[in-house]
Symmetry: C2
Subunit: 453 residues, 2 copies
């Protein structure tokens, strides 16, 4: 029994020395909400979890701003290193974001034997394995539940609950802004530019929406998830990435007619590759069957759909961003890391050496949706189909749409290798009957899935 | 650094003494699958989690049966107490089910300082708090992820990830057999008896389906979930329970016309009651809006939908039963408990004193669907509406259906107190124009929910 164990039968009294002092690096909307939960709910947390916590020091850029948190003014400092070095700070929470100075500060904290909790997806996607290595040497935790899926518990389930499982595939909606935009495009039939302007007005999208729209945010989260699920290092630069800028209302509508919905998805799977197994991780818009559990994930919600060898299909759904959900993710980690610290124990996060090769997108197999603007004349389909055939990409479904100037050919392929499909497309646009390659989407095919339909 | 820490740079070599010996009580389909995962994947588990495990002893009722597990014949015994007492067994996994002798055996294991992993929902629903108390005194873990939702990580997220969150409500589909039956009734328009016979033939339902059909299984799981989510003891006998025996194809069809789907749900919420807050936990069929995330949970899948004060809405979806999923739940717990054992640490499970009163069903508020067979004559609706009004239950929607002998009145109420609705129904059947109270369902009203619809 260590000092922090119960000292009386109510289970509430603990010695003052057992309280874990917490330091915050950053106190924006997420940080402030986490401070409020930790301070206002500290008695309830003690009663429910046996862990006594106190926020003691907070580093902020602007000392003059009112943070609306229950802390005395002298808890704040503009020097984050003072928080890390403060002897009354036992555990460091990082909500600054970005690489510098977050990486330096967390490295210092871990070297000083202080566990770290972070919501920093960029940092974990780029330097996660190094930080995990450092945490292991120091014998303390680095936890990052809030870095992926906001308030959705996904890191802990993948790392702990599924520790004995062999993951096969993850398909996830990891970016709320793009899911909001695609939901509005689907349900209101409007174009991207219009919804984006709306979303920016409502505060759902940043003034510079690049990180969301072009898939950078989702790629960072996908790298973290894939690393944990497959037990091998995946850097965010290993993630193939296409954003939603080219998604047109016309294809969203065509998807609905074919029984699909367009979503920006992150897909990670383990595939046979070059005489071994490799991990393929990519973020791109895809058509998902309306019967798939991910199809009903609307607006700014996120969801992670996971297929395991023994466990079958799992899905985790919830708010992937926002102050409240993200703060809840941080607080769960703080309680966990604090309990471990007081027991001189560590959680299950091991470093992630690159044990598995990354499969290049060219070698990934998918179904494809291809929309071609074509001449309205006999023999076009036969010519187009011939090109697919020569590249060994077989066609599952064809729709001939429109007449005269508006004639279109929409094709959905069977599973084909990305490089073969790309070669097919290059040859197609050289046909005189093909006026334009209007759209290409990868398709997640429900018919290959086992249990839904 | 304790002995079990890495001994070389590959991270795989550990001293033999650090291996955690596991004893199984029971080796049916779930137990055998868990043994296979632990034995066949032990190197991968060591590499990924740093925990070395070995199954050393297994208690079975029938020694002559082949279990198809990678264990020598002398690992088996017919005396479960020998497994618990075996000095080479450091950790006990219980998959016998039921109260006796499971309760005695796990009590002995905990007293001997051996952590326990169990899939036993009945035991945890009835004696969970006592076992948690014992585990705390012994300073070891009792983990039970597989007892609720099979392979769906739900216990760990609720206890750890959401440790700092204030749960408001849980709505869950916790029984795969009844969800399979209701899905078939909804999609194929058939009656319960027909689907049940089918399900029994296919092995989806037991020969004696009472535990599933009458909601006992779901009530035990609901008691466990509610206890953890609200931090207060809920016994399975505290759960109000109605099964699906009275669900008719006609009402399933009527639900669809009104925009609902019928599901057997477990609902737990914290409600103002008798000058304080109480926990109301009930299992019954309910009509769920088609736009609710739970509405798309089909066939034998389970899902737990949770609303928290800060985190908003979360849903956890997957296979709630079956050897593979349940074994994955057990193995995750075994790894966690073994790691804690080697670090002389404990997880977050504290005892659950009854801090919160249980609200009787009479004081629970719901929307209701009421179907009445009525005389086809003027003034019936006015008479019926008058009865609702006198009991202060207001009507949201009315459908008058059929003519002559088949005349029916279908009403959906606003939120009303259960006792008032029951008084209304008693008075309604005394009206001469009301021939029969044909059906009553509680309705989960989408209009009150915040984010979906």
């Amino acid at each position: 029994m260590t000092e922090w164990q119960r000292t009386d039968e109510t289970g509430v009294q603990r010695s003052a020395a057992s309280t874990v002092g917490i330091g915050f690096l950053g106190c924006g909307t997420v940080g402030a909400e986490a401070v409020r939960i930790l301070q206002n709910r500290s008695e309830e947390i003690l009663r429910r979890t046996g862990v006594a916590l106190e926020v003691r020091r907070v580093a902020v850029r602007d000392l003059s701003r009112d943070r609306d948190v229950p802390l005395p003014a002298d808890a704040f400092t503009s020097d984050p290193l003072l928080v890390v070095q403060d002897p009354r700070v036992d555990l460091v929470v990082e909500v600054i974001g970005g690489i510098d100075p977050a990486n330096f500060l967390l490295t210092e904290a871990l070297k000083a034997g202080k566990p770290v909790v972070t919501a920093n997806k960029e940092l974990m996607a780029k330097f996660g394995p190094e930080l995990l290595e450092l945490a292991e040497s120091a014998g303390v935790d680095i936890l990052f539940e809030a870095a992926v899926g906001g308030g959705i518990p996904i890191i802990r389930p993948v790392t702990e609950s599924l520790a004995g499982e062999s993951a096969r595939r993850i398909i996830a909606i990891l970016n709320g802004t793009t899911n909001y935009i695609l939901t509005r495009m689907t349900e209101d039939g409007v174009d991207l530019a219009e919804v984006l302007a709306d979303a920016q007005r409502l505060g759902y999208a940043e003034a510079d929406p690049t990180a969301d729209i072009d898939g950078h945010d989702a790629a960072q989260k996908a790298a973290i998830l894939a690393s944990l699920a497959f037990g091998t290092r995946v850097h965010d630069e290993d993630v193939y990435r296409e954003g939603i800028r080219d998604v047109r209302a016309h294809d969203v509508e065509m998807a609905a007619r074919l029984g699909y919905v367009v979503k920006l998805v992150a897909i990670a799977d383990l595939v046979p590759w070059a005489d071994t197994f490799g991990v393929a991780v990519r973020v791109h818009p895809a058509m998902i069957p309306l019967t798939h559990p991910l199809a009903s994930v609307r607006l700014s919600f996120n969801a992670i759909f996971l297929e395991g060898e023994s466990v079958g299909e799992l899905m985790f759904y919830g708010r992937g961003a926002g102050a409240g959900p993200t703060a809840v993710g941080l607080v769960g980690d703080v309680i966990d890391a604090a309990r471990n610290l007081r027991q001189q124990a560590r959680g299950p996060h091991l470093p992630l050496p690159a044990t598995c090769p990354i499969v290049p997108i060219e070698d990934v197999h998918s179904h494809f949706y291809v929309r071609l603007e074509v001449a309205d004349e006999p023999g076009v389909l036969s010519g187009v189909a011939g090109v697919f055939g020569r590249h060994e990409v077989s066609i599952q479904k064809v729709l001939q749409e429109g007449r005269a100037e508006d004639a279109e050919l929409v094709l959905v392929t069977h599973r084909g290798r990305e490089a073969d499909v790309r070669a097919t497309l290059r040859e197609l646009v050289s046909l005189t009957a093909v006026k334009r390659l209007a759209a290409v989407f990868r398709v997640i095919n429900g018919e290959e899935e086992s249990s839904f339909s």
